[in-house]
């Protein structure tokens, strides 16, 4: 290889090293720029327009650095400078190489210099140069590109990419429907101790008030609009942000009304019903005392017992009392207080206690009212409270009864109710054991209960006889109902059909309770009041007053009328535009959630059936029935109006 060939070869290698280094550094700068801006955007979100220009800027930065590196290494494109570069690294040549390639000495001393030049391995110098420049550039490129592709979210850049920035030069990318598939989570409020639910393409989001909902989809967030509101009222727009793998929207279920979540992505739309579940107030049932009482003496103990239920969790249970005394005149004095407190938990519980009457400081004429009170664990909007019925224990005054008198027996209807209640409890208990007990034993126990049932029936018969005066007055229909029901119950128990007896006993109980309410004896009875002689006083007043005309109240628009109209319209275009019909039914469903839950349920089934391509006839018919009410049967046909 001559000296000129050697320098030429070295020059080619150096051109490759400098060029590749420049390219690698330029690319590394491009990725490093994008990574830096992505990190900044994470903490200081940039506007979409700014993010759209970043790829262009990064390319320009990369090109700039590449150009600068090429400029720095421009010597590699000069033959003479490459020779000087070699001379610089091999001082032992003593400019032999430069002389050898000089065209002025080509014919004379070039051949004399060849042995000296050939002793120098220029490849070493090129390799060292590559190690110093190309390898670090390659490493920087690999690192920055790895960070960009694997650590930065793919969607942080809007798709106004380099291609679209030079729109017209390339075909724009087609973005499909970013609203499907839809996923997310629903996190109930902490006090409910309920787990987070996963959501997959939900058509309804149902959660307790205070639940946090997060919905995510693929693609970038720009251009997606999400609103939440009551149908036909102004809705609130929710912010849509970039998530880890796409777009993200979050909201809290705050309102007790059903709401419509509307997602729009260009021509695509999705409607989701937000059905808030209300934390129900807890319920309390006072078991003891079982009924109101009047005491002659303040002795003995008061036993209180109550059971409580709640849909989520019970809190504190307590018994409260009021002791009131009207005194001898009109002045009423009262004391309030609580008797015992217990923290319950779970969704069901009970609480009992017994206290001596003497501890309450009662005296003659006092009226002690007790009830059970329960709180739930709602820390968001509550706690909610539940109250039981009130039981009243009156302390009779000596002047109210004669020393020879005997406490009046409680009204007969009440004793029948008490016996019937015990009978129902016993029958239900036996009915539950039907599968476990041997048949002969079951029959024997059922027949024992039939005997008890017969006693209750006879009590009701006696009440009926008292009421009718032995048949002189028409029987009270409630007593007749109770009597007939107990006949049936007794018959069923005699043949060991406990399942048939129980409903009859409940019918009898309900009728007796209603009868008992109507015939309740109030403590002070009814007093004689004067009868007004209307004819004597008619229009004798001197102050005549001024009658003002009656105002007609405006008709309250029925929610169902409007829903009926919307339903009819939706049915008319259900085949031509099923998506529009689905949207209409979804909006109707939100409006009907609270006032007409059965209609909402039927519409929900109809929407699901239409969306999945199944037959929606039955749910649509059900919705129509809910809107129109039950069909009315007419005894006669309308007059014939046909044309003969």
């Amino acid at each position: 290889m001559t000296a000129r060939e050697r320098v030429r070869s070295t020059q080619r290698s150096l051109e490759f090293v400098v060029g590749s280094s420049a390219i690698f550094w330029g690319a590394a700068a491009l990725f490093a720029g994008l990574v830096l801006v992505a990190v900044i955007n994470r903490y200081i979100p940039m506007a979409s327009a700014v993010r759209g220009t970043l790829p262009v800027l990064a390319v320009l930065a990369g090109l700039g650095l590449c150009g600068w590196m090429l400029w720095q290494g421009r010597f590699a494109w000069s033959f003479d400078k490459v020779a000087l570069w070699i001379e610089e690294r091999a001082p032992e040549l003593r400019y032999a190489l430069v002389t050898a390639i000089d065209p002025r000495y080509a014919d004379s001393v070039a051949t004399l210099m060849e042995p000296t030049v050939s002793r120098v391995d220029t490849g070493v110098f090129v390799r060292k140069a590559a190690q110093r420049t190309t390898l670090p550039a390659l490493a920087a490129l690999l690192v920055t590109s790895a960070i960009f592709f694997f650590a930065i979210p793919k969607n942080w850049l809007p798709k106004t990419s380099l291609n679209e920035a030079f729109s017209g030069l390339h075909t724009p990318r087609v973005i499909g429907n970013r609203l499907t598939p839809l996923s997310g989570t629903l996190t109930p409020p902490a006090y409910t101790h309920l787990r987070t639910q996963q959501l997959r393409n939900p058509s309804t989001i149902s959660g307790y008030l205070g639940s946090q909902v997060v919905l995510t989809g693929h693609g970038e967030p720009d251009g997606i609009k999400v609103t939440l509101g009551v149908p036909n009222m102004p809705a609130t727009e929710l912010p849509v942000t970039a998530g880890e793998e796409g777009w993200r929207v979050a909201f809290t279920i705050k309102d007790t009304l059903g709401m419509l979540l509307k997602l729009t992505d260009r021509k695509y739309q999705q409607l989701i019903v937000v059905d808030p579940r209300i934390d129900q107030a807890p319920e309390a049932r006072l078991l003891l005392p079982a009924r109101d009482t009047t005491l002659r003496t303040i002795t003995g103990s008061l036993t209180l017992s109550a059971e409580f239920t709640d849909d989520i969790g019970l809190g504190k249970a307590t018994f409260t009392y009021i002791i009131a005394n009207t005194g001898e005149g009109d002045a009423a004095q009262a004391r309030l207080g609580t008797l015992g407190t217990r923290e319950l938990g779970g969704t069901g519980g009970s609480f009992s206690l017994t206290i001596p009457y003497s501890s309450l400081g009662l005296k003659e004429g006092d009226q002690l009212s007790v009830r059970a009170v329960i709180l739930d664990n709602n820390t968001l909007t509550g706690p909610d409270s539940g109250f039981s019925e009130t039981r009243t224990i009156r302390i009779a005054r000596k002047s109210e009864y004669d020393s020879l008198s005997i406490n009046a027996a409680p009204p007969s209807a009440d004793t029948a109710i008490m016996s019937l209640r015990m009978l129902i409890i016993a029958t239900e208990k036996l009915d539950k054991q039907k599968a476990k007990l041997p048949r002969p034993e079951f029959v024997a126990q059922s027949q024992k209960l039939a005997g008890q049932s017969e006693i209750v029936r006879q009590k009701i018969q006696r009440i009926l006889d008292e009421q009718t005066g032995g048949g002189e007055i028409a029987a009270n229909p409630l007593l007749t109902t109770a009597l007939n029901a107990m006949w049936e119950a007794t018959r069923s128990l005699n043949i060991a059909e406990t399942g048939e007896a129980i409903p009859q006993m409940y019918i009898a109980l309900k009728a007796l309770k209603q009868y008992s309410n109507e015939k309740k004896y109030f403590p002070r009875g009814q007093l004689k009041v004067p009868l007004v002689n209307i004819d004597r006083v008619r229009m004798t007043g001197t102050d005549t007053g001024t009658a003002t005309p009656r105002l007609a109240w405006p008709a309250v628009p029925s929610g169902k009328d409007r829903l009926r109209m919307e339903y009819t319209q939706a049915i008319s275009y259900i085949k031509a535009a099923p998506d529009s019909a689905i949207a209409t039914f979804t909006v109707m469903r939100v409006e009907a959630l609270k006032p007409f839950p059965k209609l909402a349920a039927a519409l929900g089934e109809a929407v699901t059936a239409i969306q999945t391509g199944k037959d929606a006839t039955m749910p649509l018919l059900q919705a129509r029935r809910e809107l129109d009410g039950k069909s009315i049967s007419v005894d006669t046909l309308p007059p014939w109006s046909g044309i003969w």
């Binding site: 309740k520 004067p530 229009m539």
Partner: protein
């Protein structure tokens, strides 16, 4: 045929519902004196826990003792007021610290939510007699009975502008609880506001 208006007094289990036993006769007398409304000469006592109350467009409820409605009474009361009935609930103690007021207010607000103040220019104050200053004070208020306050406003469960349940701390039960014949001895008939209540209930 037009049925007579029957003045109904609510019977409820927990208290002394009959504490103003002469009030019905007094107001019946006033209705007959000042208006041409056909009115029955005697009032009726109706149990709040039964469907009987739905036969009467106007019901009076008063007492001194704690008010603790039963479930049936609560259910009936809510339905009655929502369907257009008019219930007048008067504290016979005239005491905002009293047990009737505390318990009755709790029961009403449990069923209907917080009560609203009736503005003094409401229709009820001018539908027959004119009361330009709002509800007339009672002698018990003026004499410092009970809580020693003159309550200048009444409260109500309202549906828009319509009063469904009118609540009073002014003790009209004591004010009007006298025999109708003694009315002629007063220069100003104190039962006139009662006439407004009944006319409002029947015509609004």
């Amino acid at each position: 045929m037009v049925a007579d208006f029957v003045f109904a007094t609510a019977m409820y289990e927990s208290g002394d519902w009959e504490s103003a036993s002469l009030l019905p006769a007094n107001l019946i007398d006033s209705i007959a004196r000042y208006t041409s409304l056909p009115v029955a000469p005697k009032g009726a006592d109706v149990s709040l826990g039964t469907d009987q109350i739905f036969d009467y467009p106007f019901v009076w409820l008063t007492g001194h003792l704690p008010v603790r409605f039963t479930d049936a009474e609560r259910k009936n009361l809510k339905k009655y007021v929502e369907r257009g009935g008019f219930l007048m609930l008067d504290d016979h103690n005239h005491d905002m610290d009293g047990i009737f007021h505390k318990t009755a207010k709790e029961e009403v607000e449990r069923l209907f939510g917080p009560m609203k103040t009736v503005p003094n220019n409401h229709t009820i104050y001018n539908c027959f007699f004119k009361f330009s200053d709002g509800p007339p004070a009672t002698s018990h208020e003026l004499n410092g009975w009970g809580d020693n306050l003159i309550h200048k406003e009444l409260h109500a469960v309202m549906y828009g502008d319509r009063i469904g349940l009118l609540y009073s701390n002014k003790d009209y039960s004591s004010e009007w609880n006298f025999h109708p014949d003694t009315k002629r001895e007063s220069t100003v008939d104190v039962t006139r506001f009662g006439v407004n209540m009944i006319v409002y209930a029947l015509t609004r």
